[in-house]
Symmetry: C2
Subunit: 368 residues, 2 copies
């Protein structure tokens, strides 16, 4: 699969020298979806021999001495943003760095609306800015969080406090990104294993700061608003638990959601109402670290170290304060066990062979 | 990967005997998304040795004499719905059959709204039917179109008229499904190659008839409506072509869309305004067959026989006639060259390394 991807890149290079262009964000006006175009991405390396392993536990690249994320190889990386270096420790434990092949460019200053309208206005005589605004400059930030200094450590090997440090690094970086007026939303995510998209095996996650609110995020906010208008309550404060519960901690619950899109999908939800992930404090971060560790160990043990994605779903920065009553952040873990086919691509509706109650029971009862 | 999937099935079996349950369609009230739960799906076989090949041209199962879709093996299949058997031919050329492991059940009669409300009303005291309706019975139809009698033939090997026959079989089946009052939408799709989701290598496509309108389809209709309200025109009649054009035929154009979600994504759009795919007539079906063949040959040659999905995006059955002015069907082809990661799962926003103009130029200029 990776060779195909390279092929695709080469094809485009041959076709128009696209690799030198700056990134651009375009909106599909039929499907109402933003897409990021970023030629630089096709140059990023991969240390997985093949994108195809059944389990993500395939042996990491034998040349892990060349891994840019390993302790001692800092010179192979894009510039550092900050590091966590406990005073009792001989070396850093965690680094937040720039992505060397960023999807968005921090230098790509937003184009003025007039300029944005130029091209699309040739398509329609309407002066409506809605239709004109079908592209924006690819301005934004794309960072990597190196979760551990050593190649052999995965996130689930860290202690609750160390996982808490990773979560607090996300928080710190989000607070920095919030100071950029044109940043609307920050997506924190992790790809573990080649078939969950990871191109490097050293444990890491990523942070992308966007100048638009992605459509899935607006849809989520609208959906929670609708629930609030009908019930006067926050959807996730009221979430159905019963037979969907997996585990609980002091400040969080974990469930398989009632309409889980993927088999064994997990949501970790703060018990107390909170709109923004960056409201998490030190105590809650360690508590969440412990619950996350438990769940990652459970899926690893029950599902044979599956590839997985982890996403933090938070609330956009510049939101009307009245919306804070019904927006509630959560963390989602998706083991990648099935392959998406044409039905899902076409409809956005997924087919899940496992009922959420059954998945929750399995995960609740795993013996570690 | 397939073994993981099996593992997942077994896990759920252990957890609650889910396999015996009838399918159910649930709505996620946070993400506003329908999901089909269908335990029967986890039992379907796969004739790909591994889900992992780079190219879809991996050798088909050596035991293709056991392929249920091959001429002579009709007894291995679920019941036939109809076949195309030209009078000059010694055997059938195409069969439409029931899927043996259907995502939805044709016997699963829709549950009355009162019953649907039962469980969810314990979650909230609101009597609103909006929130109560978070699940419906998994009623619907799931068919397979066997596109050719022989294992060695792929869709691009057929003649324009033969591909036209496949398209006309979709049309015929859609018209049959339209007679069921509770069917709202029909998704026609094709998975080619294991990493595009195909579990069987014999050339085939599928038709799923749903009792709900999938969210991505409503979003598309809303988006086209908005364009119409702003311009008085149909978005796809007016679609930007210029440097996005690949090829044209008498009745269709093919482009890489302006905000293509995937590298080398292709849309084939009827020139004349038409809301429903099933309006296609015999002449247009052959014309479309020829254009489709050309494009499939181009991506196969340029991108090394990639796995791909093909989807027909049409308009729901029971739609207000006033909407027909701005809904316009199209066919989408998505070569699967990249792997979706946590950013895309989290935001619905994809990162595409190839600008559409560049992809269109490559596909326009491919020498066959
Ligand atoms: N020396 C260096 N210094 C700094 N950064 C370096 C570096 N070398 C490599 N990198 C970056 O490290 C990141 C590693 O990220 P992952 O392994 O999680 O997946 P990747 O982003 O490649 O793509 C996956 O995730 C994205 C987003 O979900 C999907 O678009 C994609 O298809 C999927 O494969 C890459 O983004 C790469 O650009
Ligand atoms: N003897 C027989 N008679 C009749 N039918 C038979 C049969 N033996 C097998 N089948 C059916 O034939 C179909 C073959 O379909 P595909 O190869 O296109 O992918 P599949 O539906 O398995 O899943 C892919 O597509 C779906 C929908 O996009 C995704 O949910 C999924 O993850 C992805 O792997 C299967 O649906 C199977 O149930």
């Amino acid at each position: 699969r990776s060779s195909n991807h390279r092929g695709a890149g080469a094809g485009a290079g041959a076709g128009g020298g696209g690799e030198s262009r700056v990134p651009e964000i375009r909106k599909d006006s039929v499907q109402n979806r933003w897409v990021i175009f970023s030629p630089a991405r096709s140059r990023r390396p991969s240390d997985f021999k093949s994108k195809s392993s059944t389990s993500s536990g395939n042996p990491p690249d034998p040349h892990s001495q060349n891994c840019p994320f390993c302790l001692g190889n800092e010179h192979l990386c894009a510039p550092e943003i900050f590091r966590v270096h406990p005073s009792h420790s001989a070396h850093w434990k965690l680094r937040v760095i720039q992505n060397l092949y960023p999807a968005l460019s921090r230098d790509n200053l937003p184009v003025q609306p007039e300029q944005v309208d130029d091209e699309s206005s040739s398509k329609t005589s309407s002066s409506s800015s809605k239709i004109g605004n079908n592209k924006v400059a690819g301005f934004g930030f794309h960072d990597v969080v190196i979760e551990a200094p050593f190649h052999s450590l995965q996130l689930l090997d860290l202690s609750p406090a160390e996982i808490g440090d990773v979560l607090l690094a996300y928080k710190k970086r989000i607070l920095q990104l919030r100071s950029y007026h044109s940043i609307q939303y920050v997506q924190v995510f992790k790809n573990h294993g080649a078939s969950a998209g990871a191109s490097l095996s050293h444990s890491h996650s990523q942070i992308i700061a966007l100048p638009v609110v992605p459509t899935a995020v607006s849809a989520r906010i609208d959906c929670m608003k609708q629930y609030f208008e009908q019930t006067g309550k926050c959807n996730l404060c009221e979430v159905r638990v019963d037979d969907l519960l997996i585990d609980e901690s002091a400040h969080f619950i974990s469930i398989v959601p009632f309409a889980a899109t993927f088999p064994f999908e997990i949501w970790i939800i703060p018990r107390d109402h909170s709109s923004h992930f960056h409201e998490v404090d030190n105590e809650k971060a360690v508590d969440l670290g412990g619950l996350l560790k438990l769940l990652l160990r459970k899926i690893s043990s029950q599902l044979n170290d599956p590839p997985y994605n982890m996403m933090i779903h938070t609330t956009p920065f510049h939101i009307n304060p009245s919306c804070l009553t019904y927006t509630h952040w959560f963390l989602q873990i998706v083991p990648q066990l099935t392959i998406v086919g044409g039905f899902e691509v076409g409809t956005g509706c997924h087919i899940n062979p496992i009922f959420p109650e059954d998945a929750a029971k399995v995960l609740r009862e795993v013996q570690l």
